[in-house]
Symmetry: C2
Subunit: 147 residues, 2 copies
């Protein structure tokens, strides 16, 4: 098994939820080698969603989804809203978390968040959506998110 340095021509990164959790996130959390370093590390709370496009580019393909790893902010461990803020706005959870299965085993959860410009509770809802993945088997696991 080699580590890849680039994406071979003709390939598009369209991972399933199961691949994201069971391969990429699990390897990341356990610091094991990932075949192709296709998911970048970012500090989600220091960048705005529109800056992710450049940071998380994969090859030359047109993208409307971007993938990244980000450490969950530990400053306010009991809150959810306050520690998801960026300079320009904040991420707010919406709907219910979705369970992710591998065959019949629950392996992770997917949370959906929407980006609001401004400050809560007066933010302006945007079209930016984030899916935040977490391992179900490791409570302290690093979350992985995609927009």
């Amino acid at each position: 098994m080699e580590t890849f340095s680039h994406v071979p021509p003709g390939f598009r990164f369209h991972p399933t939820d199961e691949e994201l959790v069971d391969y990429y996130l699990r390897k990341k959390v356990t610091s094991r080698r990932i075949d192709l370093d296709v998911i970048k590390d970012v500090d989600l709370y220091k960048i705005e969603p529109w800056d992710l496009q450049e940071l998380c580019r994969i090859g030359t393909e047109e993208q409307n989804e971007w993938y990244f790893f980000s450490h969950k902010d530990k400053k306010y461990p009991t809150g959810t809203r306050t520690n998801r803020a960026t300079a320009a706005g904040f991420w707010k959870a919406t709907g219910r978390d979705k369970a992710i299965y591998s065959k019949h085993d629950l392996i992770g959860m997917r949370k959906t968040l929407v980006f609001y410009k401004g400050r809560a509770p007066n933010g302006q809802k945007s079209d930016w959506i984030m899916h935040e993945y977490r391992l179900e088997t490791d409570e302290n696991g690093t979350p992985q998110a995609r927009i």
Copy 2:
């Protein structure tokens, strides 16, 4: 640049016509190394379309398109119908060839063929479609086809 032995998780092979011609077919014809050996060599006249699914499988993903390289049969260089026959049927061209461009340069052509079961002119039309690619810059180039 290394040669890859497998597809990294999360990647799907959805090449554009330009990538098929300008990268895969051009490398194949000139015997240059291809990053990932994802397109198999087959003898199109010895296998039926429904046998390609197993031969041309890429990783574990669900596929409804299969990619392969095949030498054009040279037995009847002036005919088109007779030298596209398999044991169970034959491939018949349909419609007009499509020009494939890289930026503004014509780099190849794409022919569309339909598989008929039986023998011409009494074959029974099937749902199997093949796109046969050829380099426009090399008249004797190896054709590449996808179904």
